[in-house]
Symmetry: C2
Subunit: 173 residues, 2 copies
Amino acid sequence: MPIATAPNPLPLASAGIEPLSEVEVEVIGVFVNAVKILGMPKSVGEIYGLLFIAPEPMPLDALVARLNISKGSASQGLKLLRAFGAVKLVYSPGDRRDHFAAETDLKKLAAGFIREEIGPHLDSGAERLERLRELSGGVNTEQGDFFRERIGKLAHWHARSRSVMPLISGMLD
Amino acid sequence: MPIATAPNPLPLASAGIEPLSEVEVEVIGVFVNAVKILGMPKSVGEIYGLLFIAPEPMPLDALVARLNISKGSASQGLKLLRAFGAVKLVYSPGDRRDHFAAETDLKKLAAGFIREEIGPHLDSGAERLERLRELSGGVNTEQGDFFRERIGKLAHWHARSRSVMPLISGMLD
DNA sequence: CAGTTTGTTCATTTTTTCTTGAACGGAATG
DNA sequence: CATTCCGTTCAAGAAAAAATGAACAAACTG
């Protein structure tokens, strides 16, 4: 009647599942951090971090096993990362599984983020501005003039953001 | 037995509490949106939005009344907004209450955001990088070389971000 | 000074977001 | 073809973040 003799706290499912090394843990930490600033889920940072520090492309199940996350999270996270080009699909001969590698060109990463995350918001902002012009056009008091002045400032901000955003990725080589 | 005769859905507490106008609602919407991109709570966007479109500085209770938010949220939101200079404290003669006004200089807003939100993260990133160098220094395999190469890339990203951030606010006039 | 008024803090509740895991579809395999 | 293998989707549960409101401190008032 062997009681509590397990040598491993979380017995790594027998097969070749290396626990994360110190370096890996720290690198992943950097990206989990970074990704939270950008308003993305932790799991996305974990996935990108591990791929970033991995010498070889990895399949989904390796990520699941080494990061201890669910298949669902891994799938969603990879989908998101691929959407703005932070992760590339790599063909691996003689293996049915998809393999993934981190894109490590900062310029591309920034461009992808701006395109996917900022762009749509700027677009919807343009629509809102249009609607706002119409609304304020119908206000005929002194207040109306003030409204229009402020909305003009908003429009100016919007135009500036539009033109500055693309320049940023250009500044990162 | 009067049933459901209330003319106002939410009876505005008798005193001079104007409901938000269409224009105000729309402007606030713009900022609620914007603020979520930056990872801040909705209430912060509401507060800044109302101040932005208000011709005169407002005291805290006016924000609470017109936005239908709690005193706690308003206080916290204003604190945050003041911290990076998006809201100014304005002296109002003959009134004990603090009055607040929106700072509408985009350059200042960006500078404040970078200083308060990005800066600290870049600082902690520098520490992590240092620790990472130490860790990877102790890895004497072929893998170690790869680690150090990637960490070098990380360091490069870090340096670039540091130098680019301040330039951004300069590009917004 | 006793009583207000004003604003902050913080434990609790509410809301939102993330993760999980089971179910499914499709592609490769034998 | 029946079966196994991969990856996706999505409803439900767990975790994280934000809003609330009551208690408090400080500053003003009469």
